[in-house]
Amino acid sequence: MSPRRTDSGGRIDRQRSIRFTFDGKPFTGYPGDTLASALLASGVSLFGRSFKYHRPRGVMTAGVDEPNALVTVLKGGVREPNIPATLLEIYDGLTVVSQNHFPSLGFDIGATNQLGGKLLGAGFYYKTFIGPVIGPLKGTRFWMFCEYFIRRAAGLGRAGNEKDTARYERINAFCDVLVVGSGPAGLMAAKTAAESGKRVVFADLEPRLGGSANWSGETIDGMPAADWAEAAVTELRQNANVRLLPRTTVWGYYDGNTLAALERVADHKPNPGKGEPRHRYWTIRAEAVVLATGAFERPLVFPGNDRPGVMLASAAERYAAEFGVLPGRKVVVFTNNDSAYATAAALKKAGAGIAAIVDVRREVSEAAHAAALSVGGEFLAGHAVVATEGGAKLSGIKVQIFDAATGALSGEPRSIEADCLIVSGGWSPVIHLASQAGINPQWDDARQAFLPPQPTQNWVGAGAFNGSFSTEEALAEGHAAACQAAGTVDGLIEALPEVETPALRSHPAPVFEIKAKGKAFVDFQHDVTADDVRLAYREGFVSVEHLKRYTTLGMATDQGKTSNVPGLAIMAEALGKPIPDVGTTRFRPPFSAVSLGSLAAERYGDLKPERLTPMHDWHIEHNATMYPVGLWFRPMIYGDPGETVEQAYVREAKATRETAGIVDVSTLGKIAVQGPDAAEFLDRVYTNVFSTLAIGKARYGLMLREDGLAMDDGTTWRLGQNDFLMTTTTANAGKVMQHLEYLLDVIWPDLKVQLTSVTDQWAGAAIGGPKAREILASCVTGTAVDNEALQFMGIVHGEIAGAPVMICRLSFSGEMAFEVYSGACHGCHVWKALMQAGKPFGLVPYGLEALGTLRIEKGHVTGAEIDGRTTGRDLHLDWMLSKKKPFIGSAMMDREGLMAEDRIKLVGVISLDNRPLNGGAHIVEENNPDEPRNSIGHITAVCYSPALGKYIGLALVKGGKSRHGSRAFVADPLRKRFGPVEIVSHHFFDPEGKRMHG
């Protein structure tokens, strides 16, 4: 048995031991222990070093509010720093190291920082490291020099570099009533709501539901409170309408009664179960919320209040009652309210000796007085602790007579031997979620605390959250809150459970600080002292917002759970104003630290969905190098062994021009435009006319944005009188769909047009080349594909290998070409049949690179030229701008700026030095390789043209056609490329289109 472990009691299972290490040393604990309880039980009091002064720190709390005992967990090569030891449940093999020290926790060189005394006060870094001139180091350069050393010396845990392989998940939940907090108020609320038939989600950040009932030692309904809580939880567990969420922190309250919660699913296990996430991020949408989040006990501010062995009273009580751990054998109680007297009684009962009770109040309640007498030890009313003694472990305290009204100390300080000092400075309701959801908290003088604001969303508070600190009040308010949340006006139960508890009141004397010599800490985690707060005031930081930022009070990972109110009180005193006049900062999410993994959840890693065409697997089987295009994957090349990318695409493009090539065009956006007004609608959105298009014909269309700039292009096929199939570029499919839906919903709701994305309905294969028609003719049944049956831009229906197909004769490659559409589930079947039919003709599959080459040779534009800055005229598509009708963009496309002579316009460029060109390279007129200047445009697309035997490109150049035949230079300083080019027409190959018209 360890020196601090009691023989019985608590939630721990003494039948089984758990082995873990802390700073490399082996320890044991029991199932149910936290790291803090297990180490305390083993006699460890030193848990870490403080942020700035490297002072030794122990455990102050027993929960999420812990500012001191932060540790780093090592798991599978991953370091996770700044985990409160008070929340970390131990398991076999747990490996933990302490933080912020060198070379060891016991001997830390950084502790010499304490000798700096006031030098390291608030704003030290701002004042010291910005500005002074030391040799060449001045201003921010000096700061940058110092920063490395400061960051090494100050800080919390160190994050690792290993990839976190843990699994994280998100999940959604809906309920009638969400109850946050599982103490008596929350339990009563959950019971009441469940009994009324409501769907209830019941969450608590602790592993064991029941909150204070688990350690209060009170009696509820004639049984120990912990048993009552266990029975209530068991009942709730059996109710199908109730979802219990232990180990779940509700950390954010958002609009529409949407709350965010983090469930620590597997942190307490050596390894998660199969498929089990480490953390689960819950998005909970609740009709109503009951906030029963309890209250945090506050420390008192006095010199040496951070020494290991100083602990909040409620924490000491929890360690004794929940974990069977005595925080000390000789305990002194220091308080400004009655609640610590119950703690003293509990510790005494658990086996600790109470050396003294020190109360800042001269007069205390009868119940408190009686409790003091019953626990034995000295009772020092009207006294205060003015110092603590010992090294990295408390050995005693000093007390002095104290006047709570004036704060004055008198008499000589005297020492009392003690190994534990428990402190209670009053209670602060945990109103974070309410604050996130509403307006500013309200100060309450009686409780010396901020109370929750009036609800602006549908939540009801209960218990200590409301400042109702007794269990009797908590049960009553929990019941009432649930009735309100469930919409039940009358109470559901006849009588509330009866509570037996001493008549102690938690309302404190308005004392936050004992002013005596020495460092008195307000924010333990950020090492902010009471003197720092006053210094900030003297330096002009009179707003609470400025105070917070200048001193960093409340800005550490604990977000000031123990420090905000004392800090504010000290600030108010310095200002000479009452606390409510100073105000407070609003809480914002998250309530406590949230793993980044849970926020990203499955979105990180395996959920970037891939869009695959029906022929995807065929491409892979045939050596395609796949290329991501948005979410789609498309073949870039089908490389032969040893081929470079250029060799592959040149081979593919050449074969297409000489025999035939086939390319997967399934990714093109396809939108079904249907309805009696479909033709009219297309006339309005395209620059050219579609209402005259015959059924069974396709037409190339250009779409402008409202500002007159080009938006997208593609062919639209008329399949029936009221039935069009619009195709868009792959990249713009979603954008065009949104654009069209907006127009129909907002601008022209009177048009009877239905839009449906049918991109995935169709598999598309474009087959082109001199042999394309012969290949098709050899495998298509049910229709002829000769010139008569299938004219340019005509559509026919037939079958290939038994699958229905729709064939449109159109060409992007400039060859005699056909787009063969089939149902997507038949796509691969049809593709294979085409490949088989093409075999005797030398048909080759080609990828995006060859596709680009063929289109560049033809001067066809894509997204590289329709880049959001070019007009139809810039791209020589003037012929498509109808003068017979208005269309989207027609009013704006004639603006002066869009008609200007000096606009960059589409041209072709040929490399004259026989070297490749680069997309994005500038075109300049002057032959000045060292300092190229005065860009006249840029290259948009490049390739090696097998048809021309040259490196060519498309470019947007000022003057456009007027420069045809002239010489310029390509300038690409970043890629170190400069060389002569000839500017030519963008129609490099077969400008008359003889090949595609056959």
């Binding site: 809906f174 969905p609 695959l612």
Partner: protein, 195 residues
């Protein structure tokens, strides 16, 4: 008849997977209906469209989004105001509806190849779906027959409840393999069977 190629082929792994210590949480299948058809009525023509649906499929649907019916081989549900998804294990439904729904009433869009139909059933079906969609799948809120059009990140989905513990999902075919992979991944925790 040409075989229909499932987009799931390389990732289709029949059998049981994941944590089956507590049994099979969900069964995942691809239902491969012959027809998936979208019908849309012009404003004011909804009742006529519903009548056409009833005449063709014998499914009497309530007016409006969300309501639906499912039978052994046919199912239908509202996916938006005046818009319905009709599913039939047999092919050719779009052609039949094209004859039954005139252009004065609305439109018929064949999506039989464009959507992949997945089924998730079992005691943990609601749990697994809750990982993907911000939809209240509890039986009282989402009764048998009802449906919804929703989204999981980039993946659009239509979902219909076809049993107390059974849901049919229709996702874009090009996303189906990714979605299926995610569905399997999310089901590991509760144990799943692919059949």
């Amino acid at each position: 008849m040409v075989d229909v190629l499932s987009p799931l082929k390389p990732v289709w792994k029949p059998g049981t997977h994941g944590n089956t210590a507590n049994g099979i949480g969900v069964v995942l299948t691809e239902t491969q209906p012959g027809s998936i058809v979208q019908l849309a009525a012009w404003q004011g023509q909804e009742k006529k469209l519903l009548a056409a649906i009833k005449a063709v499929s014998a499914l009497a649907l309530p007016d409006g989004a969300g309501g639906g019916k499912s039978g052994d081989s046919k199912a239908a549900f509202g996916i938006a105001p005046g818009k319905f998804l009709i599913v039939d294990q047999n092919e050719g439904l779009a052609a039949i509806f094209s004859g039954a729904v005139t252009s004065e009433v609305g439109t018929v869009t064949d999506l039989s190849h464009g959507r992949t139909a997945l089924r998730i059933s079992g005691p943990k079906a609601e749990w697994v779906l809750a990982k993907f969609f911000a939809v209240d799948f509890a039986l009282p809120a989402f009764p048998v027959g009802s449906g919804i059009a929703t989204l999981h990140h980039d993946i659009f989905a239509h979902i219909q409840r076809t049993g107390a513990e059974q849901f049919d999902l229709y996702v874009f075919r090009s996303f189906a393999r990714s979605f299926w992979t995610m569905l399997c991944h999310a089901s590991e925790e509760v144990g799943y069977e692919v059949s």
